[in-house]
Symmetry: none
Subunit: 417 residues, 2 copies
């Protein structure tokens, strides 16, 4: 089974947007065992889009087109696809209803004239519902049994649609199965992590290990091609166990859909612990990550963003002497912030970040990227010093990951060992 990915959008050709959709879809197709030989990006141009679809139909079994389903006149993907395969566009009453509903919910009474264009679908297609926007997706089987899938461009619309509707459909088409397990670790760089398992990666055939790096995290996906899930599990499990042995506590989850913040919130819930955060350079990104977990309210009541020294003193009880003597970015201040966050709010845990995210404010002794993270948990406190590389955004993201990981390890060490 061969898939061709076609990204439609002039903004991609102008370099205004990075094509993360092609990456996401390629990864998902690889996981499903579908081969991808070509990825094409083309603008909202009728002739060129026509030719791209025609060529793709001549060499692939499945076409996934993203973008160009919007309400404006530029958006041509549906119209051109219909023309290539010789089908008509017909109004779909269900789609019409759900678009009206969408606008009603947003309290906008007048549906823009343009959006009616989105109520038309290609004759004989299956509609994929879009819960995060107005453009429905379409799934079309052509007369010569090729599959064409049209999806909207914005990732927050595309991803849930692909995962909920397209994946189950594609899985049914695939002979045999691919079984994967994922191991997510933090505390290692990608190349460092890969070095540790170099012998396992070398000469691999079935199962395979694919590393994937995110800021502060490395994910290893172990995939086996098998007759059925049971055989897949048998093939994958020994390799997963070997990875567990090598990375130990640095593995924070083996669940595909679980993030580091999910794990931290679960651990807090499990031991009935409440957390307060205190952030300086990350300015709310840490608490934002925690509150990203639905139900975080059971472990998190409040957090402080203390950007100024005064705020550190007033809300966290960091004493002026410490600030004057060691500075706001110091081991000593980080510890007082973490302790102060927990104490002043009467909570079990306090997690604090203070650092220099740049681009200004660095000195020879305290360069940009210097970050102290402290974690207080029920009477015990620890602090770590980091020198992160990267720009302001990257430094802050890494600090958040390491803070979450520090709390995770503190809970494990104090409650599970």
């Amino acid at each position: 089974m061969i898939v061709e990915l076609i990204s439609v959008g002039t903004e991609l050709l102008l370099g205004n947007t990075i094509n993360t959709n092609a990456n996401y879809l390629a990864r998902m197709c690889a996981k499903l065992g579908i081969s991808n030989f070509y990825q094409i990006t083309v603008g909202d141009n009728e002739d060129r889009l026509f030719n791209v679809i025609k060529t793709a139909l001549s060499r692939a079994d499945i076409l996934i087109l993203t973008g160009g389903l919007g309400p404006t006149e530029d958006d041509l993907t549906k119209e051109v696809t219909a023309r290539v395969i010789g089908r008509r566009l017909v109004e779909d009453l269900d789609v019409k209803k759900s678009i009206s509903e969408y606008f009603r919910k947003s309290n906008r009474k007048d549906i823009p004239e343009n959006n009616w264009k989105q109520t038309y679908v290609i004759e004989g297609s299956t509609v994929i519902e879009n819960h995060n926007g107005t453009a429905p997706g379409l799934l079309i089987t052509t007369d010569d049994k090729k599959l064409i899938i049209l999806l909207p461009g914005p990732p927050r619309e595309l991803i849930p649609m692909f995962e909920n509707s397209v994946v189950p459909y594609l899985r049914k088409l695939m002979p045999g199965t691919f079984y994967s397990e994922t191991i997510k670790i933090c505390g290692f760089g990608e190349s460092q992590a890969v070095t540790i398992i170099e012998d396992l990666i070398e000469g691999q055939s079935n199962p395979t290990i694919a590393p994937y790096a995110k800021p502060g995290e490395v994910h290893f996906r172990v995939t086996a091609s098998a007759r059925d899930e049971e055989e897949g599990i048998d093939l994958v499990r020994p390799l997963v166990n070997e990875l567990r042995k090598r990375f130990k506590d640095n593995i924070f989850t083996t669940k595909e859909e679980e993030n580091l913040e999910d794990v931290v919130v679960s651990l807090l819930e499990k031991y009935n612990l409440k957390l307060t955060t205190a952030e300086s350079c990350t300015g709310g990104l840490l608490s934002g990550r925690i509150i990203n977990v639905p139900g975080a309210s059971s472990v998190f009541d409040e957090g402080f963003i203390t950007y100024s020294n005064d705020a550190k003193e007033k809300y966290l009880g960091v004493d002026r002497e410490t600030l004057d003597k060691y500075g706001a970015v110091s081991k000593e201040t980080a510890i007082m912030m973490a302790e102060g966050a927990a104490m002043s709010t009467g909570k079990d845990a306090g997690l604090a970040i203070t650092g220099i995210a740049g681009p200004d404010g660095g000195t020879l002794k305290k360069p940009v990227g210097l970050v102290y993270i402290a974690c207080y948990l029920r009477g015990k406190v620890q602090v770590e010093k980091f020198n992160f590389n990267g720009d302001r955004q990257t430094i802050r993201e890494r600090a958040v990951i390491h803070a979450l990981n520090m709390l995770r390890l503190s809970i494990i060490n104090q409650y599970e060992k």
Copy 2:
């Protein structure tokens, strides 16, 4: 002048790497006024790469190929390109010298056998030196005057080579220039915004307007093709002024590199105002956005994440009666949060968000997506009710954008009107 971008690498087809090169090169070419109609990604496969290069030569003036110049047997870009245009590969003594030099500098005495492959170049090509790796770039003019540029895949090798050697070369080839201005608005959905300027978009030729949507924002890029920048400005300006007239205060910037949070921090700085944030469902994302601006410390000392009712009472002085009577997600609570944030910290402005981000916690009267945003500024307070669509993440992002915009408009109304 038309460029086609060809990214070579199986890792792209497997989704292991995001194609940032295509984005970078597209952006640079757009800036140079070179049109890009197709971007192709293809694996390290001889036949498919051959066909991709051949097709590209039939429809573009310039081909930029990235990747596949490495030392391994997989790497075929140079070999296949030579074959398509009927040229030989010849050893280049300068390249050989600089590769030896590279390994000597890295303190690795033994040059891997493979790397000698990299000393071969396409006959008649110009070598682009690589100061960050071993693969040289090549610049080839074909017999029918097409330009082919081969560059290595790693961005830290590609970008300096492109900027130092390729850009000056391309600039000489280009007659005239492209001039763009961007207008960024918030408070409108894309289709709603496009409807307002439909008459301007219809029948446009030079300049053109291209809309681009981000959550809560719409950007319009107005581009003219002109002899020089001066003529470009003359062509673009009347259309930009018309957009200003139609969108008025909804335009938050006309600077390409400026974000909404930059604008808000600048306005606060300009009028010497200090801000305190109070967040419930967004849990620090609002303050995180503000602190994203380097130098935000001059306008922002502290922020509160008050997830529980107790925290709203304790830190913001929201009274228990209001919470009991109207609930945490209400107009009344939002106002008290905004006022309380400013008052309790002695600041000029307080910006508060309280809402239901889901997926749980919604009721018929207060559904998921219901968000109240209140803005207090020097004695005046206003509050707005929103019903956002989308998942938890989208609802929170939209809330942050609207909060920033509300503060921006409050400052403008109070200080600039």
